[in-house]
Symmetry: C2
């Protein structure tokens, strides 16, 4: 039976880390909220499904994945569940754990990237917190982007099986998620990200390798890949780059 | 062999979620950075160990756990590793996954609590971002504390095995972490947290149940429990409560 992914239908957002894993593995899945309303699509159905009264284990927020009787939320937990099933979690418990640890660090970077445009409240418009956003974005560009990317570079360089993959010598969801993080940073902070990537050649190579994998390449060219936009986590506000 | 926990020696912080799990399980562990410098204690030794050149899998930041040859970072990943070993992850894969999903949601709440006093940059003093902190804390009090606590209450109420535990009918690290989150919120935002907890009786009961468990009680009374303070994640700045 196909996996059901439930996530906002108009943004990449956190759901994109799950989409990439499913796509890269060639897994059968339905992106439910992007279906027509008659098939359960749309945002109102998403919110209804999120808190279905019969579900004893509802997710706090989208994305959540349905696999038969199993419902799992939280992006990193979804990937923890899918990883071994899709062959994207390395070999054995310790590789799976390391893959997950990297994912959690990517999730931290993603949350910080989001907060550059919403440093005060997700309930306010960006325009109403722009001054704070300018300050937060500067700190993110100057301190956090280099710190995160330098760590990914370091663990790539230290991988005993080579710097092509983050974990062992085969693709994991950590590679896919790092690709997505870099894609988002390049979209939102093109200048600052280019500066940081000049010092992280292994990340640049990993990004290119992931993008040219056949299934990933096909996905990125397809209408299933929602373009980056200013409703998502990574937003191209030129005043926040520099 | 005793587990080695490496974390900042003067705050509860994220390390406290690991300390609580180890203490509640009666596990043997060393809180390395709190040892004397001659035994590897202190902050400079912590930072040196964090990036030990011989470790191919260094953590991005403290806390990290050493168990023989295994080094694990990221609080939630440490608990994912320890959970089954300490008998704190429920029964089977799906309970372990649900426990972890709850932990990740607690981690999100913890990160948001931190950002109330550091909304612009971790590199600036609180005093230099107090105006933004006032705005962020208001949104956290009015919107986020109730949203998070209502979700924990809902999943307690929906637990088919009763509302005493978050997962199944026995203690997991999710229970311990929710206890810690509530303790922190009560310290940092006593008024706002009391208002929210008035609507979440199952959380109040869980908090009391965890606190009176013998090993937890003994730990909380011991010098091993670092008091909350204004260097940690949860800080009692009266102007941020209300």
């Amino acid at each position: 039976m196909a996996y059901q992914l439930h996530y906002w239908p108009t943004i990449q957002g956190r759901g994109e880390f799950v989409r990439l894993a499913l796509e890269a593995a060639g897994a059968e899945y339905v992106d439910v909220a992007r279906e027509p309303p008659a098939k359960g699509g749309g945002e109102s159905a998403l919110m209804r499904d999120l808190d279905a009264p019969g579900n004893p284990r509802p997710s706090f927020a989208p994305p959540f994945l349905v696999d038969g009787d199993v419902v799992v939320g939280q992006t990193a937990a979804i990937l923890l569940y899918l990883g071994p099933r899709l062959g994207l979690a390395g070999a054995g418990e310790l590789d799976a754990l390391w893959t997950h640890q990297i994912q959690l660090t990517i999730a931290d970077a993603v949350a910080e990237a989001h907060d550059t445009h919403h440093p005060l409240s997700t309930g306010l418009y960006y325009e109403d917190q722009r001054e704070a956003a300018l300050a937060r974005a500067k700190a993110f560009r100057d301190e956090r982007i280099p710190k995160f990317l330098n760590w990914f570079e370091r663990i790539l360089q230290r991988n005993p099986l080579g710097d092509v993959h983050l974990v062992g010598d085969s693709l994991t969801y950590a590679d896919l998620s790092l690709f997505q993080l870099v894609a988002g940073l390049r979209y939102a902070f093109p200048k600052a990200t280019a500066r940081a990537l000049a010092h992280t050649p292994a990340i640049v190579k990993l990004y290119a390798n992931v993008a040219r994998r056949q299934r990933v390449h096909d996905y990125l060219q397809s209408p299933r890949r929602i373009p980056f936009n200013e409703e998502g986590i990574f937003r191209a506000y030129p005043e926040l780059d520099g």
